[in-house]
């Protein structure tokens, strides 16, 4: 049973924040939902992908976040409801579409979910996407819990249609990836088809139109401010008896505030902003007037704090406002109860209940960072590349599992900024360095943002080797399909776009396809590629070992073992290759039968032919 679709109205179900968003969209009658997968947003799309057919909605994993947003805009401007979800950095890609869409506005409800990642749990930065709401003039809702993910997503569709504006729902890792009880309502299918009514004076943003539409947007924001000031999503929690001290907070920070305030036995009023942009000016102004001292608690940037201070100054309110500017809370990394408790203790001169930081006595334990899996084709590729280049090359890397190759023994990443950056940065590296330059990009990332870089490199005759690490899936985020896949989500038919066709279409003349499990072929091909002028491309194609190893594929796994009589203890299999199935304990190297994926790469790596296939 897919509880996202089938949970009965009125029941309490255990849902992930992301699943609660998906359920709410179904109840709100969403017609079109799109995404590009990215942690911590991925489960929104994955949940909808599983039920799209039965729910009768259209869902797609789009090529990138900008395309996802544009597809949703096409649907919403036609008058049906649309949802687009992405991780925070995805909104950088989608921003071009979103900033101007705020000018045209929407007809059907349009909700964009951005899942931020304070502390960079699985991201290259921890940017605070609330700034996009400020930048674009877009109403912003910030849930704190799975139940609020559900409530606010439903409300976001209503607000969007009321204001005729896109609405951003912003979560963080500690909201998206929290599971809790959610009381659900009824799934009410909405209209799936409509007719686009032409209105070029609104929807075609040539300069003359855009100038006028900006004024409309500003007017809508005034209305949004009024709606926010009386929105049920903004509420005051009264703790204890004294009514002179206040806290203004939002999102995950609210949770830490409530737990800390209880532990510290604070007498304080907590204004929780769920609808936080535009700042509900009347509500906040009244709250400030009613409290002598107000502490603003928020994760990452001091956005609420700055606007609350500006409002107080404008309205001539003398209350003391404290926050990050006073050093009470850090501006980097996620908050927790200890940090919030410590800031509130200092602000309110409370005593007791302070929490200790974990003892660091166990820091010397062997670390266990994420690693490339047993049988991972990327490991084989990196081993071959190091062999071919003798490690004398600069590696431009990209976003995906293969970034994990940055650690020794591969050291296969020297520069990484964003999706698709391997290709563009390789061009610049090659222009000013004498060493060979090799760019690594995954299949999904290549489709997402690698293609314009490749066209640029061909056109400007940049000289580097681009290796497209094609494991036939979007592995890191949970094996979602991409444009190269021949199967889409259930209920849809897709056309696989061949990577070779795209590469040749970009004007690349030297292209080879290798199986990375074949170390000699891959090594020789890399050597040959590096002799070429201009851009050379190698597609290293081998299915992700996690998919190939699934029980249901029926694949025979050829387990390997180390023949201890032949083993010379040279440690090549441990020091130059790296496989979680191979261990070296008490100077004995061995393969864990349970973990071995049967790729056979280690047998090629061993210089003494001591690794054999089990009979």
């Amino acid at each position: 049973m897919e509880r996202i679709l089938e949970a009965a109205p009125g029941t309490r179900v255990l849902l992930l924040g992301n699943e609660a968003i998906a359920r709410a969209a179904l109840e709100a009658g969403v017609a079109v939902a799109t995404t590009y997968p990215g942690t911590p947003a991925s489960e929104i799309g994955d949940a909808l992908a599983r039920v799209a057919k039965d729910a009768g909605i259209y869902f797609e994993y789009s090529t990138n976040e900008m395309v996802a947003t544009e597809v949703a805009i096409g649907a919403a401007t036609s008058g049906v409801r649309a949802l687009v979800s992405m991780k925070h950095v995805g909104l950088n890609v989608a921003a071009d579409a979103l900033m101007t869409f705020a000018y045209t506005g929407t007809r059907g409800g349009f909700v964009l979910v951005t899942a931020d990642d304070p502390s960079c749990h699985s991201s290259q930065n921890e940017q605070d996407n609330r700034y996009f709401a400020l930048l674009g003039g877009i109403p912003l809702l910030e849930p704190s819990s799975p139940q609020e993910c559900y409530d606010m997503t439903k409300e976001a569709f209503e607000l969007s249609e009321k204001l005729e504006l896109p609405v951003i729902v912003r979560t963080t890792t500690r909201v998206s990836h929290v599971r809790g009880a959610v009381t659900v309502g009824e799934v009410k299918p909405g209209p799936k088809k409509n007719e686009f009514v032409k209105d070029p004076k609104r929807f075609v943003t040539v300069p003359a139109v855009a100038k006028e539409r900006h004024l409309v947007l500003l007017q809508r924001l005034v209305e949004a401010d009024k709606l926010a000031s009386r929105s049920a999503l903004n509420k005051v929690f009264r703790l204890g008896r004294s009514r002179r001290k206040g806290i203004i907070t939002s999102s995950a920070a609210f949770n830490y505030v409530m737990d800390a305030a209880k532990a510290l036995e604070l007498s304080v009023d907590v204004l929780k902003l769920g609808f936080s942009h535009p700042l509900p000016s009347t509500l906040v102004s009244d709250f400030l007037k009613g409290h002598d001292m107000v502490v603003v608690v928020e994760e990452l940037e001091p956005i609420l704090e700055t606007s609350v201070r500006a409002l107080a100054q404008h309205d001539g309110i003398p209350s003391r406002i404290l926050g990050k500017a006073d050093g009470l809370f850090p501006r980097a990394h996620e908050l927790n109860q200890r940090l919030v408790s410590s800031g509130l203790t200092r602000a309110f001169k409370a005593s007791g209940g302070s929490l200790r930081k974990a003892a660091e006595e166990h820091d010397e334990l062997p670390l266990r960072p994420p690693v490339l899996c047993a049988g991972c084709p990327h490991s084989a590729t990196y081993f071959a590349v190091n062999k071919a280049t003798n490690r004398k090359a600069i590696f431009a890397s990209d976003i995906g599992c293969y970034t994990l190759g940055l650690e020794p023994p591969y050291s296969a990443a020297d520069l990484l900024v964003c999706m698709g950056s391997s290709v563009g940065t390789a061009g610049g590296l090659a222009k000013v360095n004498d060493q060979p330059v090799i760019a690594f990009i995954g299949d999904s990332t290549f489709f997402h943002a690698g293609i314009p870089g490749l066209i640029n490199a061909v056109h400007h005759r940049h000289k580097f080797l681009l290796m497209i690490l094609d494991n036939r899936t979007t592995a890191m985020t949970g094996h979602q399909p991409h444009p190269g896949s021949d199967r889409g989500v259930p209920g849809t038919e897709v056309t696989a776009v061949e990577i070779e066709d795209v590469v040749r279409g970009c004007g690349v003349k030297w292209l080879r396809v290798v199986d990375p499990y074949d170390i000699k072929l891959t090594t020789d091909t890399v050597k040959e590629a590096l002799k070429q002028e201009g851009v050379s491309v190698i597609v290293a194609r081998r299915e992700c070992a996690l998919i190939a190893g699934r029980d249901d594929t029926g694949a025979i796994i050829r387990k390997h073992y180390i023949d201890q009589e032949l083993c010379k203890k040279c440690r090549t299999c441990v020091d130059k290759f790296q496989c979680p199935a191979i261990s070296s304990i008490d100077k004995v190297q061995a393969i864990d039968d349970a973990l071995c994926a049967g790729c056979g790469v280690c047998a090629q790596v061993c210089p003494h032919d001591a690794i054999k296939e089990a009979k």
């Binding site: 990836h177 995950a252 062997p366 490339l372 864990d592």
Partner: protein, 198 residues
């Protein structure tokens, strides 16, 4: 309030285990919040999930405040002791998954006795269960996580009864129900009858 800190290695089914706890709490009529590790961290790395049963807002457990540490791997149990106080119960699988750093940096994997004595200093007690063996004997070798949920129920979670957990196992893992319930009961008995260490 009961705070359970779940640790192990990506791929051991820890998220599923935390969901079983969550469902059991709902069956018992309690509130519950779980936090999960997804994405990059899952590729064979250390994984942490939390389960907080009771009325609380934050899904994260403050340092040193775990009531129970439920570990799926020995070294991770040791690493998790920073969350322990003298009232914390540590329940761990005796499974060892050797991290690459041990091989590449020529380090030692701590012995069970070392881990036991560390736990004696930091926690109330320490119960080790041979989860992979019990799962295999129940006919579901992939269900070490279910064995450990049984062990959790065996040491007891205030307000949650054995039947709540069993119903939650069934609701969360619809395949091989009788085998998984058997795995659960083996874990339950192993923890319940474990000698009181420390």
């Amino acid at each position: 309030m009961v705070d359970i800190y779940l640790v192990g290695v990506g791929g051991q089914g820890i998220i599923t285990a935390s969901r079983i706890i969550g469902e059991a709490a709902l069956f018992a009529g309690k509130n519950v919040l779980l936090s999960e590790t997804h994405g990059m961290a899952q590729r064979g790395g250390s994984v942490v999930c939390t389960a907080r049963i009771g009325d609380v807002y934050s899904p994260l457990i403050p340092d040193g405040r775990a009531d129970i540490i439920l570990s799926f791997e020995l070294l991770e149990a040791l690493r998790a002791l920073c969350m322990a106080s003298k009232s914390t119960r540590v329940v761990t699988s005796s499974e060892r998954i050797v991290p690459l750093a041990i091989s590449t940096k020529k380090l030692n994997y701590p012995s069970l006795d070392e881990i036991r004595s560390q736990a004696a200093r930091s926690a109330k007690d320490f119960i080790a269960v041979d989860a992979p063996r019990l799962a295999a004997s129940a006919g579901v070798p992939m269900s070490s996580n279910v064995v450990m949920i049984g062990a959790l129920a065996g040491v007891g979670v205030a307000g949650l009864e054995r039947a709540h957990f069993e119903k939650a196992v069934e609701a969360t893992i619809p395949r091989k129900v009788s085998e998984n319930l058997h795995a659960f009961s083996l874990g339950f008995d192993a923890a319940k009858n474990a000698p009181a260490n420390v």
